[in-house]
Homo-oligomer: 149 residues x 2
DNA sequence: GTTATTGCAAAGGCTTTGCATTACG
DNA sequence: CGTAATGCAAAGCCTTTGCAATAAC
């Protein structure tokens, strides 16, 4: 019963502060994602969390990631591609998506300035509101010529 | 052999101009998507195209949509959600995504201005280039209070 | 003890693949 | 005729679901 992994108390408090009960599974997942800004799919989270928590189940990872998003601990990124990417960087920022490798990286807010958000919000009327705005710059390996498919 | 649907010659020429051989299946799909700006999933395209081409197969729709994207006839939208959304509006513009209904709508370029693209392109170096930039404003029904899950 | 969380395995949705068949140049 | 495109059905991947077992308060 004392074979508990060393846990980050600050992480535990952070989950509690967001209204998420810090179970062992959730702590293991939080320990993978939350300590530093990163972008990961559910599968990647599962693999890394497995090191500290071998019994951790895939379905638990999926539902926990959704829980974290609902409670403001993570962001879901609409990069296209099969798997959903979760972002632990909660500061406002944009994204670079490498279409060749699938790699996602952060772009500081200052790199791109988006004008007109406030006017847009007002233009939506009283029934709609802006939930989020995503700016994704898709980049690819520069290629001299293009092959036909 | 003469039971051919009436086809838009301009559409046929447009496919040819893009290097896409205008087969009957492709014409049926093009007729659904290309005449006017719209956002559709593969399944929606299949259903509509079925009216003019009942034998049209699902797999053909999927591969044709990809073909159209590769040849610049369609854009793929990274709205998150199960199904890929294709956009037949090729002019530069942004998108509004209603997270409650899944509905996608166009936002004129002027509605939001993104500054810094050129500098960003230069900052990528010589190995990478910008393939596309997507700005997606996620909107939702305005709700007075928020439920906890 | 009662409620919330987890594991497991099965099902679900969207998309791709392989191969035989058909249409096209 | 040879190449490209299509249909069909099966498999693939990512994700969700239902329910019994477990853990938390």
């Amino acid at each position: 019963m004392s074979a508990w992994p060393v846990v980050d108390l600050r992480l535990r408090d952070r989950l509690r502060a967001c209204g998420v009960m810090p179970t062992r599974q959730r702590m293991a997942i939080a320990a993978v994602l939350l300590p530093r800004p990163c972008h990961m799919t559910a599968e990647q989270v599962l693999q890394q969390a497995h090191d500290d928590f071998p019994e951790l189940c895939r379905a638990t990872v999926y539902s926990t990631l959704q829980l974290f998003v609902r409670h403001g601990l993570l962001r879901e990124l609409p990069v296209d591609g099969a798997a959903t990417v979760y972002d632990s960087n909660l500061d406002p920022h944009h994204h670079l998506y490498n279409v060749d490798t699938g790699e996602v990286s952060d772009l500081p807010t200052e790199a791109l300035r988006v004008l007109g958000q406030q006017a847009l919000g007002r233009a939506l009327g009283e029934s709609l509101e802006v939930a989020a705005m995503d700016v994704i710059v898709r980049v690819r390996q520069r290629r001299p010529a293009r092959a036909t498919a």
